[in-house]
């Protein structure tokens, strides 16, 4: 059960609106986003419900929801939203706040998604470009699912779909410096 009327101010709403540039209050719960979203069935709260939870100021529930991690930013919802709410931006805002405030959803699927993104970024830090073989392998190692997609690997390698080597960016130092400074800038903006 949710008890309302205890919060002085809906800080969640204010923060999400500020970061996303959208106005969540405009949502009138038509549900077009939910049936548009390709992954809404995997979310524990589909976009429409996330909007209402934000309006109700339910921080914990919103931050811990897997919805924000499942969002593919495919922008199908925002393209069809009758109130033109930038739903992907809202999702991204929640995700960034959740990361900053250390709300960690540790269910397997979310963990897997988060790991994928971390590995991908590590890869860029390392090479300046992505490297699929290592990406797949490392993801399997880090998620302790060593044999996932093993059936795919030989076919893919054989077909040359996945190269064995990557050609890194020449000025890799510049890339690494970018990572460091982006981090700093992020902190400064908060």
């Amino acid at each position: 059960m949710i008890t309302l009327g205890l919060q002085e101010k809906n800080t969640l709403l204010a923060e999400v609106n500020k970061r996303s540039g959208a106005n969540v209050l405009e949502c009138y719960q038509c549900g077009k986003c939910v049936s548009t979203c390709p992954v809404s069935q995997y979310m524990d709260f589909p976009p429409r419900e996330i909007m209402q939870l934000i309006k109700l100021g339910q921080k914990e529930t919103v931050y811990m929801a897997n919805s924000t991690w499942f969002c593919l930013t495919c922008s199908a919802c925002s393209g069809r939203c009758p109130r033109q709410i930038e739903i992907p931006a809202v999702m991204e805002a929640i995700r960034h706040i959740a990361i900053e405030e250390n709300y960690v959803n540790n269910t397997k699927k979310v963990k897997s998604i988060r790991k994928f993104h971390n590995i991908f970024l590590d890869m860029i830090k390392l090479y300046g470009r992505s490297y699929e073989l290592r990406l797949m392998a490392e993801h399997n190692i880090r998620t302790r699912d060593l044999f996932k997609d093993m059936n795919l690997a030989p076919v893919a390698l054989l077909k040359g779909k996945i190269p064995l080597l990557v050609k890194p960016v020449k000025s890799i130092k510049a890339i690494r410096r970018m990572f460091k400074l982006a981090d700093k800038l992020e902190k400064k903006h908060q």
Partner: protein, 314 residues
Amino acid sequence: MKKLTYFPGCSAHGTSEEFEKTVRMVMQRLGVQLEDIPDWNCCGATSAHTMSESLAYALPLRNLVLAEKLDNTTMAIPCASCYQRMKVTKIHMDENPELAKEINSTIIEEGTYQGKVAIKSMLQYCYEDVGLEAIKAQVTKSLAGMKLACYYGCLLTRPKAVTQFDSPEYPMSMDHIVEALGAKATDFDYKTECCGASFSISNSEVVLTLTSKILEMAKESGAHAIVVACPLCQSNLDMRQPGAEKHSGKKFDLPIFYFTQLMALAFGMPEKDLMFNKNIIPVEKALANIGKIEPEPEKSKKTKKAVEAESEVA
């Protein structure tokens, strides 16, 4: 010869080598000289903007800065995801010059962003700048007989405010291009549904569900194959197709082509250069349809009176 700034993207040397190669071949034939951005880096894809805002803008911005060093007004990007990230960054930077200045000056040392290069996807470039007529002019081996479902995915036409190209719900540009090549584009309702993108690795079950629906609808439309313009879409639909068949219990057998592969084919380029061998679903059966033109269902020649009578009833 026209010059065009070109951003290959990471997958060009990996999963989508055939796309990369055919793009270069086709462009050469169409009289466009590609100039690669020197020492480009990864655009950060979904991961960067999932995790950090500044990084999501900084990575593409470096490429934009480097691109401005070449003297062209337009840049084309084959990969839909790279295209999307670069264009989002360009629009955001143009709208917030203060932020652009800050990120530029603190993070990027290669130069100052000026915002003078227009960004287009390779599909958009072919459709708008090259034009259907020029493409038609190069066709030596018509693809007539082939029925193709054109699949655009999410990022080529969405969100409208960013891409400013074609309809986000029912785009037709690729359909027009394949028809220019002689093939028939089928009426395919799932052309902009999402394929699951990077969940391919992290949550493959999602991808299997989504792709099987797309493949099913493509099959439904009567297509022999699917045409795409995005490496991730291609790999999800192609590499995951056996999985999708297992997942849904249906047989699809739809090879996934890049539109440039088909262009090259229609332009009469040697088939061995088109790297069909890289396709996981074999292409031969689909390509065999070329030249097999089904007879048009004969329109019964009605008398003038009968036509009149019919409209009276209607």
